[in-house]
Symmetry: C2
Subunit: 177 residues, 2 copies
C-alpha cells in the first residue's frame, strides 16, 4: 500500500472508560487514513476489540497491540531506523515540516491523551502542530496522515473486505459478501 511506507500510531496516556471513545476514534482514523496499526500504552480489551471488529468487516490488516510501554516502543522504533513524529499543538507547524517528514518511510506517530510526559518532546524526531491551536488529537492525526500520504489513502479499497461502501449521492449503499 502507498509505495511501501510504514506508519504506526502510538497512543499514550489512554485511561480506560474515560478515553474509550476518543481512543477508538484514534484507532479507526489511523486505519482509514493508511496507518498499519496502533500501539496502546494501556490494556483495554474493549477498545482493541471494537477497532479490530471494524477492521475484520471492512478489510485490511490493521493491528492493535495494547499494554505496550511507551519508552521501549519509541526506542525500539528508533533503533530499527524509524522516525518518531509526536503530534502536539506546541510543535512546528505541519505545513513547515511535512516535506521533510515525507522523506522518511517508517513513521511512528505519537498521539497523547490529556497528559504527555515531557520526555516525549525530547525523544521525538519531530514535534508537529496541526495548526497552533488547541483542538483534537483525532483531527490532528487525520490531517497529518492525509498530508503525509498526499490524500491517496482517501480512496483506498481492501480486496478482502466483507463489507464495502458504494459511494452514493443521497442514500446508503453497501455490498456484503
Amino acid at each position: 500500500m502507498s509505495d511501501q511506507k510504514e506508519v504506526v500510531v502510538l497512543r499514550i496516556g489512554h485511561r480506560p472508560q474515560r478515553d474509550a471513545r476518543v481512543t477508538t476514534h484514534v484507532g479507526l482514523t489511523a486505519r482509514a487514513l493508511g496507518a498499519q496499526g496502533m500501539y496502546l500504552t494501556t490494556r483495554d480489551t474493549g477498545v482493541t476489540s471494537s477497532i479490530l471488529d471494524v477492521a475484520g468487516r471492512f478489510g485490511g490488516a490493521f493491528f492493535v497491540e495494547d499494554g505496550k510501554g511507551w519508552r521501549s516502543c519509541i526506542s525500539d522504533w528508533k533503533a530499527g531506523g524509524g522516525t518518531v513524529v509526536h503530534l502536539t499543538m506546541y510543535g512546528l507547524n505541519l505545513p513547515d515540516v511535512e516535506d521533510s517528514i515525507r522523506e522518511h518511510k517508517r513513521i511512528l506517530v505519537v498521539v497523547g491523551a490529556e497528559k504527555v510526559p515531557g520526555e516525549v518532546y525530547g525523544l521525538a524526531d519531530y514535534n508537529v502542530a496541526v495548526g497552533s491551536q488547541p483542538h483534537s488529537e483525532i483531527a490532528a492525526l487525520a490531517i497529518f496522515l492525509d498530508h503525509y500520504y498526499r490524500g491517496t489513502t482517501l480512496s483506498q479499497q481492501y480486496s478482502d473486505a466483507r463489507v464495502t461502501i458504494i459511494p452514493s449521492a443521497h442514500g446508503k449503499t453497501t455490498q456484503e459478501r
Copy 2:
C-alpha cells in the same frame, strides 16, 4: 478570514454526557480549522462553555448555539442561499466533489453522532464521505475543512488572542497578554 467564506457546523444527535468529549472535539476542530461557529441540536451548557472558554483565551469570534432544531436550521440555511454538506461515510468521496463544493461560499457542515435521521440525506446538497471507511466524525470534519480551505487555516492567527502558541521544535512555548 479566508476570502469571505462562511462555514458553520451543525452537530446532530449529541447525547449529553455520553457524547460530551467527542462533541467538544468537534467544536474545537471546527474553530481551529476555520469554521465560524457550531449549532448543537441538544442543550449542553458544559460542552458549550468549554468550547467558548478555549475560544475566549485563544482568540477569534467562534460561536456555539445549543438547543437548535435541525430541520429549521437546515431549511433556514438553504433559504438564505447557503449550501448544506452532510459528512457521512455513505456519501460521494471527497476528492470527487471538493472542487464543486469549493465554488460555494456559505456552507453548513452537518456532522452526526451515532444516528442521523434518514431525511438529512435527502435535504443535504452534498452527502460527502471522507474516505468510504468507518472512522470518526472529528477526523472527517478536520479533513473536509482542510481541503475546503486548501490548508490555509492551519496557519491562522487571531489578533485578539490572550494566549498564543509559539511553534517550537522540542518544547512548549506560549505567549500570554
